[in-house]
Symmetry: C2
Subunit: 124 residues, 2 copies
Amino acid sequence: MSVNVPTSIDLLAKARLLEERWQPHVVAELNDYQFKVARLKGGFVWHDHPDTDEAFLVLEGQLRIDLPSGAVHLGPGELFVVPAGMQHNPHADEDTLVVLIEPRGVRNTGSAGGERTAEQDRWI
Amino acid sequence: MSVNVPTSIDLLAKARLLEERWQPHVVAELNDYQFKVARLKGGFVWHDHPDTDEAFLVLEGQLRIDLPSGAVHLGPGELFVVPAGMQHNPHADEDTLVVLIEPRGVRNTGSAGGERTAEQDRWI
């Protein structure tokens, strides 16, 4: 799959294809950055990405990102950039579809690692 | 303005604030990348960005991106990444609101330059 094919990508349609939760799948690349869709429900794990910011864009549903200073709430069309090195823990009461934008190779569990670490570079 | 403030950004609400067309305004930063909203209507100029890909995400309206190989059509929620060095010319029949995602400092008219070149680093 290549980003050089001149067709647009329907982000919500791609995200709706996902069945597993907390398993980001790449839909496009921008230089060395990736757009990844993910289905989220429930809580994740506290973690950070020491070397990079991480953008969350909600497509459908409601996302809460817990931060040391409080929580950020995102609905459809809302964006939040978690600064590099900031601990965060995403949470969704109901199934929520999001886009993650970050450099290629960023691990979903960041420096925390553990059993919820997803495989890299899976495309959908 | 800082991306470190823990509030979400409503992309469409930000874009609707724009009155001028073809004047990208920054709404968030991700490392050395910027999310910029823009209001587009009519045609632009053929140009390319030799050193970087450029992502277009439509928020409202319909965007056609003319490419040497044909045209790509994007509606709300659709993404297209123009590869580095590829000539392109965006066109919108009606007012269309988009997000551009690209490295900080990318000029809207790329290597073409000219009178439609917008000022850099204006935030909204």
